[in-house]
Symmetry: none
Subunit: 192 residues, 4 copies
DNA sequence: TATGAATGAGTATTCATTCAT
DNA sequence: AATGAATGAATACTCATTCAT
């Protein structure tokens, strides 16, 4: 149906506009008026697709999180050895952060900002479930330290956000070599 | 000078008010009017001490960063062995994040947000100089991996922000035991 | 004709929805969108039956006025003595205000509000013609004071609006006893 | 103090502007922007003097009610006979409605509209206390019917609103002669 | 130094109305 | 006849900033 597709496109345009504006200037710069203008739509139209600004941002968060997960678990073969599996996911995640800097930077902003409802945040977490499973398996196999997944996340996934941030600000270039170095650090910190 | 001190107190009150408001609700909640009210001062008075809102936030950033550094290098004896030195600094930093959650959470927000001028950010970096020196020494002594300080920071200091964040949201309790575990992870990732 | 009747039903539903909304919150609460929703109809559909919002309200006014008149002159036998006739009409009107509080309260709002076109108001007046005739007869018979019908209306019909208003706000209960008292007051004021 | 007076003037100008706009077009026409413009003030300034629109309207209501009462009980000598007293008050009230048509018409709108908080309405009532006292005295003296003050009000005071309304719409001229006629009707309806 | 009053431009959101289908 | 989608203009209200005192 042409109509439905047009609808979907418009919603996508709104999400994209929001993403872009939040990225360049934080929430304060992402006014509904600007979002509408950037999406080439009337302000009133936003409210056909989203309940209010918070809903718009929540939905943006979830949609980006979903994209992130999709990339993270691409080509993921859970039968491979734990380290191999983890490396695959880790590199996928890094690739996402490299290839989609706006999406990635947005997620970083969300992490430390009261921008997203706690409830929505929890919803976003479930996308990472396969990673948590993998860690459990690694621990069962005695390969990964027996510690909270929060610690595992903090020392393997979270640091890449910082690196990509520095990369985006052109303070520190993250190329393939650095990436493999980084994975080494991540693995060193959690392996038994 | 009683007058000068009163001035300093007022400025401090304004910074504190700003910190508090930004922490509970992000920049969007920290309007000049609210800041003034919380600091028991007229809105116009803010402009005696700060050029504008951006300047206020920048100065807040630098003052918090300075406090952070002061705590980080407390009791720091640079003659001690590298690992000992690093542990001292690392634990100091962790303590800061535990004891001053508002200040620490504010710094986290600043990290991934276009809230602070790039220039001001750089100024904030110099406070951490002793840590960078220590890492250089560690690398010279062959104890720490020969990699960019950005990587070292990403895998040793940055993760604690995540942990404290989770702690603040009551998702993961960070006690002394966890803290020492965390330091272990940090060290494992960068030691040769 | 099934089709025509469906049309009439829809129009009636729209009028009823408007009535209800205006009553609970005044015009400001009766947006076209809300009216449409309450009538289970698309906003665009309203414009098939009414030219615009003002027309909708005008038509509502006239339809309610018509209902009012229908009740007011129910069982009206113009051969009876004047006082008897008047009492009949007066009690009918009071009954309408009791039994149809929404309609009645709406008419009250219209009375003192620039909600209704002057022209439409005049149209509404004609429904009351039999009452004016009765008064003329009463005056010819020397039973009713020789004064303007506006005065007669002000002191016999208009007061009931106030009483019903107080009743609706639960400030003053208007039961049958009060009603007959009220009629007595009305009659006392205009009788010769 | 010149400053204080300027403040009071501005508040008065805002109240007056609101009164005028509500009178010509109802609440819907009295937007904050229009009120500000008519009072020659920025929209933001309104909020220095009033909490929000509802507060503005409530305060307007109370201030008009107060003026009304001031006029109503002018030259009121409570030692005079009941009828004389009542006539004095009644004529004062009528004079108010004649001389201050905007204020009077506004009060009429308030009567039948969900424009004013119930609480504020009650506050407005106390201004009329002396009238209620007088009625009680009249009842004690056996001059006025032993009925609820709501009935007394409905048949003596309330009708004038209708008359003035008609007068304002140029449908029925209310001159001095009519006024005395009207008082006669009022008195006839409540006297024993 | 310190302020309360003032503001124009901006905020998120809703409005009555239209139009392609 | 009926609609869902769309909109520019309006809504109440807040903003960062200024200025006379």
């Amino acid at each position: 149906m042409a109509k439905l597709q047009k609808s979907i496109q418009k919603k996508a345009a709104l999400l994209k506009a929001t993403l872009h504006l939040i990225n360049n200037g934080g929430i304060q710069e992402a006014s509904m008026a600007k979002i509408a203008k950037l999406a080439a739509v009337s302000p009133a139209t936003i409210y056909l697709y989203f309940e209010n600004k918070q809903d718009l941002i929540n939905q943006l968060y979830l949609s980006v999180k979903e994209m992130y997960a999709k990339v993270a678990f691409e080509n993921y073969e859970s039968n491979n050895p734990v380290k191999k599996c983890f490396e695959q996911i880790w590199l996928n995640m890094a690739r996402f952060k490299q290839d989609m800097p706006e999406e990635s930077s947005f997620l970083s902003q969300c992490d430390n900002t009261p921008m997203i409802d706690e409830e929505t945040r929890e919803q976003g977490l479930v996308y990472l479930h396969p990673l948590f499973s993998l860690w459990e398996r690694g621990q069962a196999e005695g390969i990964i330290k027996e510690i909270s997944p929060y610690l595992l996340y903090a020392y393997t996934i979270y640091p890449t956000a910082f690196l990509m941030n520095m990369h985006a600000r052109e303070l520190f270039k993250v190329d393939n070599e650095v990436l493999h170095l980084a994975f080494q650090l991540a693995w060193d910190s959690i392996k038994v």
